[in-house]
Symmetry: C2
Subunit: 250 residues, 2 copies
DNA sequence: TAGTGGTCTAGACCACCGG
DNA sequence: CGGTGGTCTAGACCACTAG
């Protein structure tokens, strides 16, 4: 059982560490997903079964599942069941890829890999990825195209420790977040981006086929896993002459 | 009463126009706010009172209020009550103003008004604001400063019909969305932004004190009211040498 | 102390889905 | 048909706030 009637065995409601029962249920279920007890795409037990297992009511389980659905961790389908969300292209497109071509129709970009290397983390990488000094990172450089047009020059840094064997792979997949989930059990749950305009450096300009100094959009992203720990630092230089970055205010 | 037991007097559940009871309650409450039956900052009746008035259960009212809270339309305070959200600076800062100075500490910008005029809407304004050809708009140009540094050259277009008397006001307030709410009963509920990098035009560059052609961030926003109708078209040219645009991915 | 929102429970009926 | 999630209800106890 998760609990007795009145939270008697837990911290009392007023105390700082208190979590409502449905949050405790949520934490437990999130932990099961992050530890791959349930895989992406897999169906969860029904609300009634989870409730019975944990000794709480169906309504409490429902509230936990509803929050996880809002967090895009789960997908619920009436009449079918509740499933662990996949990192398929449509989800990535909707949640993480905010660059839209002039047509207004979102498309998943193709990638051309330029470099993959392993190196000791720079001070900036240590800071962005919350590493210890001396830790190593995997660095990836690639060019991403929208509808066949080279548009984004992208640089990534990943903690080597969390992605063993990634550098030695024959090809690094285009949909990285799906790969992180399926091969490393790491779910990208969110992130923070900061954007600014700058003049295109010579190297990136050449790669994108634009004059050096052309105004480009620089996107600096740190992606976070289910525990809120930094997993990826991504720096994208984007030629916005034929596309734009969309952001909803709600 | 809102309803009989099984939605018998409404469209059946399977039909296209069907809305669950808590959504009907939400619509009604949103309409009351948009019609200023309840003013910003005002307290709503308690859940039990609303439930009794509408002939539904407290749980149904709660679900409607929870969604409206998630939409930032309401603020709930335990032990006090439920209040209509205000467009105060902290809310604007959090929800609509995504430009953050290098310090990382969000600040509300100061404004220096340049021009206010009334004119027939251009074709682009007609499209962005969903106007009829021949409708008029109010155009505002202003410079916005962050920590005393001129940073944003901003242009706004508003439907004249919805803001009578705005142009003749002695001074147009800095916090426009708060003004829209308090003087015109128009609540800005959300919006869509699209961003790109471009070279600073001569006039804006001069106003911002930067060389012509400097890369700047162009932000194109359409702000929407509670009914999802366009209320404002805003075009901001931002010198991002000392600030950046932040965007959360969740 | 009275009233509010926050949490939790138990049970009911529904639409949707698959076999 | 049986099982799933989606909705709705009724009632309980709690913590927080105001007066």
């Amino acid at each position: 059982m998760m609990n007795e009637k009145t939270n008697s065995q837990d911290e009392a409601r007023g105390t700082p560490g208190f979590l409502p029962l449905y949050r405790q249920v949520k934490s437990l279920l999130v932990r099961r997903i992050s530890e791959r007890f349930w895989q992406p795409g897999e169906i969860l037990p029904s609300e009634m079964q989870i409730a019975a297992e944990l000794g709480v009511s169906q309504g409490t389980v429902r509230k936990a599942l509803d929050e996880m659905t809002a967090d895009r961790l789960l997908v619920r389908r009436q009449g079918r069941g509740t499933f662990v969300a996949r990192h398929d292209e449509s989800r990535i497109l909707f949640q993480f890829f905010k660059i839209v071509p002039e047509t207004g129709i979102p498309v998943f970009p193709e990638s051309h890999l330029r470099r993959v290397e392993t190196a000791p983390a720079s001070p900036e990488e240590v800071a962005r990825l919350a590493l210890r000094p001396g830790d190593s990172v995997i660095r990836i450089a690639r060019i991403r195209s929208l509808n066949g047009r080279p548009t984004i020059s992208e640089y990534l840094a990943l903690p080597l420790e969390r992605f063993p064997g990634l550098v030695s792979q024959a090809d690094i997949p285009n949909n990285l977040y799906d790969h992180f989930a399926s091969d490393y059990g790491i779910t990208i749950a969110g992130g923070d981006e900061s954007l600014r305009a700058m003049a295109a450096p010579a190297e990136d300009a050449a790669l994108l086929g634009i004059p050096e100094g052309t105004p480009i959009l620089a996107i600096d992203r740190v992606a976070l896993d289910l525990d809120g720990k930094p997993v990826e630092w991504r720096y994208s230089l984007c030629d916005t002459r034929h596309c734009h970055y969309v952001s909803g205010l709600r």
